[in-house]
Symmetry: C2
Subunit: 645 residues, 2 copies
Amino acid sequence: MEEKTLEHLDPGAVRVAAADFWGKRILQVKETIIPYQWEALNDRVPGAPKSHAVENFRIAAGLASGEFYGWVFQDSDVAKWLEAASYCLWNFPDPELEQKVDEVIDLVAQAQRPDGYLNTYFTIKDPEGRWKNLRDNHELYCAGHFIEAGVAHYRATGKGKLLEVVSRLADHIADRFGDGPGKLRGYPGHPEIELALVKLYRVTGERRYLDLAAFFVNERGKTPLYFELEARARGEKELPWPFWTPAYCQAHLPVREQKEAVGHAVRAMYLYSAMADLALELHDTTLFAACRTLWENVTERRMYVTGGLGSSAQGEAFTFDYDLPPDRAYAETCASIGLVFWAHRMLRLEVDRTYADVMERALYNGVLSGMSLDGTAYFYVNPLEVVPEAVQKRHDLQHVVLSRQRWFSCACCPPNLARLLASLPSYLYSKDGETLYVHLFAESEVTAGLEKGRVVLLQKTGYPWEDIRFEVFPETPQEFTLAVRIPGWCREAKIRVNGEEADVSSLVERGYAKIRRFWQRGDRVELSLAMPVERVRAHPGVRDASGKVALQRGPVVFCLEEVDNGPGLSQIVLPEEAELCATFRPELLGGVVVLSGEAEREVAASSHLYAFRRPERRRVPLTAIPYYAWGNRGVGEMTVWIREE
Amino acid sequence: MEEKTLEHLDPGAVRVAAADFWGKRILQVKETIIPYQWEALNDRVPGAPKSHAVENFRIAAGLASGEFYGWVFQDSDVAKWLEAASYCLWNFPDPELEQKVDEVIDLVAQAQRPDGYLNTYFTIKDPEGRWKNLRDNHELYCAGHFIEAGVAHYRATGKGKLLEVVSRLADHIADRFGDGPGKLRGYPGHPEIELALVKLYRVTGERRYLDLAAFFVNERGKTPLYFELEARARGEKELPWPFWTPAYCQAHLPVREQKEAVGHAVRAMYLYSAMADLALELHDTTLFAACRTLWENVTERRMYVTGGLGSSAQGEAFTFDYDLPPDRAYAETCASIGLVFWAHRMLRLEVDRTYADVMERALYNGVLSGMSLDGTAYFYVNPLEVVPEAVQKRHDLQHVVLSRQRWFSCACCPPNLARLLASLPSYLYSKDGETLYVHLFAESEVTAGLEKGRVVLLQKTGYPWEDIRFEVFPETPQEFTLAVRIPGWCREAKIRVNGEEADVSSLVERGYAKIRRFWQRGDRVELSLAMPVERVRAHPGVRDASGKVALQRGPVVFCLEEVDNGPGLSQIVLPEEAELCATFRPELLGGVVVLSGEAEREVAASSHLYAFRRPERRRVPLTAIPYYAWGNRGVGEMTVWIREE
């Protein structure tokens, strides 16, 4: 744990250019995704599964009559939409959107009970059921999302209404939960409120919110298990589903005793994010140590090369070390999003490029694959290998779909994508007193107040396809450190400061090149990151990647699609010495680098199922596209891992 | 379809030596398996799941009071035991076993209703439910197994009691089913009675049994679907399970229109066996054509290299062409047994080694793997790759167990193994007028009445490890053809007749070397089948075998086990040029050939999950044992497919 902790710079300080790779997405959130998702939440998207999420609020607010519809966590879709819309307002002034957001906030406020309680399911359907089933009922989870929305809205707009609503909600919860007399000693089945309460603490300065977050984290996994006590109190004998275990909710052990990532991957990521937040705020080295142990377990044993998490559909869960089947992957979009949250928080505890590397891996691959290029269709599950007939005919692939969906009955991922993308400017830069950190590369401008004055940094780049150039504009010439991440995937980085080559190796500390100097206005730093096509090999423990490679260039993981390479992708063999060349194709898939080269394809020597002869081979062209862009040209086979010989 | 059809020689004409590979198993059925399974059926095996199958008969017979327990097909376990015991009596005189069998037959006879109906479930539990749910209730299936037992008992012992019982049962069924007025136009959800009725027809000469078998086969798949009509009549709206389809019962199409093997693999095999029987008895070329089409689909697209069938646990079913995942295989022991039944019947329609090759592949591999070496523990599911942690932690492997079980609540496989092994002598030889066929190799003696007189053939061999020698003893010197199968796996066969080398290629017709001569007593034929260690490659369409080989020597498929090769079998790479040597080890696993050689093992270059560098390799010894013998030395990893480079 660092002595000085980083401060991440928020969207108020960062502007990402509209032409940038991520800038386009950030703009897309505002222009397409937020409007589209609003339509979906109001059941106005033809053919999309019913949401009813906004209508539930109208009913709870007394503005409409009807029944609650949807999951017990249906409210969270509205909360995440509000949070995403708030980030949009932070990024772009937009009176029309601002007014719509205000209206939604009014609606939410009207749905809040006089005691501060806010949850349309229990308000409409089961008022007696409040707080009686923390294991399954997601009340604290939904509250967490509203708190995050309230904080985001306040920070983006300065308006306090939603923040007041969620503060009253948090106060209500703080009244009900804790170790005082008459309070419930429970904690959420789905973590989320913990990290939200830390945000609320930061914006309000109210210590009780931080304490409540710590309470929830510290109670988790204690014996006797709270979830069993409350189930007994409900008179229940059955588990929520036959294979349920406390690990599903990360309640199998107190958090400081957890050494391996188990259970539901999204829940794990949200919990670990909260643990990192608390480690930071409370200077809790034991929590930090637990975070590091879990980080290593996740990222060095249980993470797909795309940054996907969750090797099993059952329980949407982690399984065991090196168990990473590409076709049966769950790799929920939300889990990769959660990994970004966690990595971003770990960076504040310890400036090490490992965290930013993983964050970047998840962003460019397993997160972005969750959304169509046009922003209006989504994957919940992100496999690394798809064979359509297998998906149609194998029951163990029933969780996989062949094309992105317009919406989901359980629609956690789409608004989660929206809020992450809209808040992406805050993931790029950090500062501590004398240092300005660059974690991610995007054409952007950041303004940071350092100890010796304000600095504006311009980042010019066509990343992830091209090199990076910085221009530094201190308000007044001053000494500070510009710390630029040298990505772990880069074997050869060059830095020129005002045209003069620097000795990178002597600058780099835990993956950041620290350029300390007395900066003048207009000083230039050129960062050249060699981006050859790399072949990624998995640890030999990964059974399903044995003898195979994934192609990567820069942070982008590639895949083969049937539309480019024909069916039977498992029959393609990439010779070890085959050269692959990278070409930017502006007209393809919104503008992507494509890898191409020559490979071999096995051809049956006969129609026999088994034979002694090796199959024959013929030379074939090979075309790989970025994994995140797969599935945008119709249904077909796809694979990330390619056999190599 | 041949003009002259083969006649298979039954155990009365064949004696397999006790020291032979199969002879040991045949003896084991008598000495261990039949007594053991009797204990299991009477719930006297400690720790084994409850059977209650015999007690159900006592209750139905009025000799005990109590409730029916078990599956709706529990009776079939007793029937299969009786059939197996009958074959034992055919193979070996044993007054004690004969008396026990007679007692069981008495019990069964007492449980039969006055109208001929025989089924303890419906007699005890649901007398009104008879014949109302053919889709699920297995009444015709159980009847089929009793009919098979009755025929076997009669043929083995000449005693008519059980045959009378099952004839009355068959008459009862013939009264209820058919296209006459007031009759049910249904057919069984699980085929079995069809082939049993053909057997009953053959032994009784009663044409109505053959007609009923044909009725059941011809009705199948007609529209409207009988299973839907009867479900409607029962007032049912729900399917037996959510993903049920008519294909599960092979009722999706009339049998002559079926081109692909779908649904439950065991049901498919029993149906196809009956279709082959009927094609033969009725000279039905359309049925024969359907059998051939399905045969090619099964054996050239949907069969594991072990002769295992069924790529999916859901529905214990076929999936689609080339979908043969080794770890998720179902490959039920009964399905491979059914494949042997079918292959054996196809041989009678068309003497082609293809059928005997597949029969042999299934017997030595996917069938035999279903039983422990000591005969008292069983696999229901026979995967080709096992990683214990994956089986324990992945829900999509929940159907796999890590060690053979003492019994099953659904105990179809153990007595099915018993009846197949006990009847194995009848699978070795066939004749038509002037030809004596040798399909399988085993130290044995057969007596066959050919057109020109009786012939005794001695087969001397240590097969599957060694060569074969025949000695011919015609009653009087005579001309006939000895047709010896040259297995498809053999690339170099040599034949010497009385020491003189024959030109094999000129003798071979559809895989059988036809040696026609005027045979004298004591004439010798030596058959030398080269048995190098072969590397089997799957068709490139088999995604999961891409870049991998299976090792095979003779008919035996080998596997790697953790106990010999350490954990992490997927990290082993077999160099293309590596030599493997075969050594017979009499002390190991009941005496097996072991393959050994040198391979490479990938070793992590670092602890990183993903890296650009290839993993390092070190040379390691490699030991492969016959697949059928795996899992007899404790729990551990196992794989049939080995990466090759």
